[in-house]
Amino acid sequence: MEIIKEDIIIMGGGMAGLRAAISAAERNPKVSVGLVSKLYPLRSHSVSAEGGTSAVLNPKDSYDLHSFDTIKGSDYLADQDAVEEFVRIVPEQIYTTDRWGCPWSRNPDGTISQRDFGGLSFPRATFAADKTGFHVMQTLFSRCQMHDRIHFYNEYFVTSAIIEQSSFNALTAINLKTGEFVVFQGKALIFAAGGAGRLYQFSTYASSVTGDGNAIAYRAGLTLKDMEFMQFHPTGLVPSGILITEAARAEGGYLRNSENKRFMEKYAPTKLEEAPRDIVSRAMMWEILAGRGISDEHGDTPHIHLDLTHIADKLEERLPMITEIAKKFNHIDPAEEPIPVRPATHYTMGGIEVHISTETQVPGIFGAGENVAISIHGANRLGSNSTNECLAFGNVSGIAAADWASAHEIPQLDRIKAMIEEKRIWEGILKNGSGESIARIREDLRTGMDLNVGVLRTENELARQIRNINSLKARYEKVTVEDKSRVFNLQLQEALELGFMLDLAEVITIGALMRRESRGAHYRNDFPARDDKRFLKHTIVNYTRDGPQFSYKDVVITKWQPAARVY
């Protein structure tokens, strides 16, 4: 067992992880940072973010407006103190990344340009064409190259976290290139491992987004929050699920049903196609259920048309990537033909519970980005509010972890726990098994989640999915890893990921069953109204040997009392 020690360990090399690494290194140049990722950082899903990132840069805009948009978007489940802090610290991140070379799209006079996005009352989405995530990631990765105290551990797959006596003890991992078992120890740990959207089949997510960070934290005893709130992006490209940015609608694109009619007026009379994602996704599903979906050569599953033909002149400058995607993957020129789309999982609002300081309930363990629920998104994240979160709170977590590391020591390794984990992998998962296929269990899990825990939910279907998950868990006990080799054993990695996914699917589905109301992205056909009396509360869940234990926690309200959410 190899033991690697760094002052700070970061799990995840996406936008929050890279931002945290830079902030820690710049806060205290003596501190060493170990950035542990199962990918190379630039392969992280953050590079797929497209449309924009909200920031109050214009004097006519205000922090209060950005806060209110975010809170209304969240269907009042956001913690308002966290939102107020968030909007205040974002603008500096835009200017900082600008200094570092991020090619934010500009106005003719050279100032940073902003555009409209769903659910915004001021056009504050700052963007780099429709490759915002890509360019910010390139910028952060580039900045990391200046710091020789940031050490990259690329293609190390983390399998568990050890928390001992209420403090961070170690991460266990597999070095994919060698197949060696490795233990990472540090004074502080930052979780920045992203969301969990690949629990579903039809998804905008990269195949790597399997919820590792959430499941590892949960198993180690940290609290998860609001996991039943999974965002469905209205416009996943059919059939691949590749994201077609919301900016396409913000720039004027229309949604049309099989009768070639726009339909959003029925569901969001003022904002129309620019309503928040939960509302647009539901509208599309209702159109499809009413028999007005489209089936054609792009997919048997009924879908909707995204029509950009009337804004063809904007495609090259404002929407180059999705134009290229439609051409490359579907042989469609969006200037001439509509794009086939339907709702796809896109963002995990829930995550590890952290304070505004980014600290978890275990001192010395921090978290940032999609991996956590600092609770600025509540029941529905607004488009353009994710990459800014990674920058803003990634920065906060890096500084906090550096300060923590300056005042603490690396603890004595809990060798027994590390050895038990080593044995679980090499003697257990790799060797055991009696014929159950990883791919079949995963496929059954994903199709079940699509079908039963989707945009529109009911008690019967949710209960059915819980039974499914129980039987999938039983099958997982017999899962077989055919590849017995050590080096780059993709199947072993996938078997471990599947275990994470099953735990999270259980948490999501039970949470959804217990929340007998409709709020944001969680819509119950059998309880179609929001119920503030009973459910203006965060869902809290903790791991026990006998399964997840649920409780509820009050939402923090500062200035904005819950009101009807109309767009």
Partner: protein, 247 residues
């Protein structure tokens, strides 16, 4: 009769260094891209196949490999458009193979790091506004900022194949990307690194790098522009020396 299957011929290597070729039949109606073909194989035919993949939308740079003899991204290569029933897949050339289609990409990133690929400016306080940069100024380096670090160019470059010290197309294009950014003040520092025997001087302008680049970065043109800048820098030095001598 047209076959209902693609025949994937995959060049593989075990962790013990044993090479072999495997053939798999993949139903045409089950897949669109070559990557989907590989996923199909790993999920249904042979779970021991190792390859990298993530975003499946040609933005993360993971799934670079050689397809029918050309360096390509598996995710954006439409199987049907290759025009062959047999699809030959091999690991990317000019890199060391770790296992099957997985190569050691570390040298690629070492070269990138070597050119100081970041904005170089004097230290400054927390900024409270942006640095002005017009759309025209952005256009100067836009193309070179689109690199997804997939490593295809290095696999296509004949020089990189024979000289492992050569900085190579991607790193040189990255140097130019920052040199041309109006916010950067480091082009002089980077010139010292790129205007060397293992830098721009080594390129023969074969243009293969630009041909395989999935994002039209055009590293070959970048290297020409770097060379032009290096020459004009040298000329300036000569003139300056000449002017001093005259006085």
């Amino acid at each position: 009769m047209v076959s209902e299957n693609y025949e994937f011929v995959i060049k593989r290597k075990t962790e013990h260094g044993v090479s072999r070729q495997d053939r798999f039949l993949v139903p045409k109606k089950k897949i669109s891209t070559v990557l989907e073909g590989l996923v199909y194989i790993s999920e249904n035919l042979d779970g021991t196949l190792s390859f990298r993949h993530s975003c499946r939308m040609e933005i993360c740079g993971s799934c670079s490999m050689e397809i029918n003899g050309k360096p390509k991204m598996a995710c954006s290569t439409i199987a049907g458009s290759l025009g062959t029933g047999t699809i030959k897949v091999s690991p990317l050339p000019h890199y060391e193979v770790i296992k099957d289609l997985v190569v050691d990409i570390e040298p690629f990133f070492d070269k990138y790091r070597a050119v100081k690929p970041y904005v170089i400016r004097n230290n400054e306080d927390k900024p409270s506004s942006e640095l002005l940069q017009t759309p025209e100024q952005f256009k100067l380096y836009e193309q070179y900022s689109m690199c997804i670090k997939c490593g295809l160019c290095l696999a296509a470059c004949p020089i990189s194949g024979s000289d492992e010290d050569y900085l190579g197309p991607a790193a040189l294009a990255a140097a130019l990307r920052f040199n041309l950014d109006s916010r950067d003040g480091g082009s002089g520092i980077r010139l010292e690194i790129t205007d060397t025997d293992e830098g721009i001087a080594r390129c023969h302008y074969a243009g293969e790098c630009s041909e395989v680049c999935p994002k039209d970065v055009d590293p070959s043109k970048a290297i020409q522009l770097l060379r032009r800048a290096a020459i004009s820098h040298e000329l300036k030095k000569v003139f300056r020396r000449g002017a001093k001598g005259g006085k």
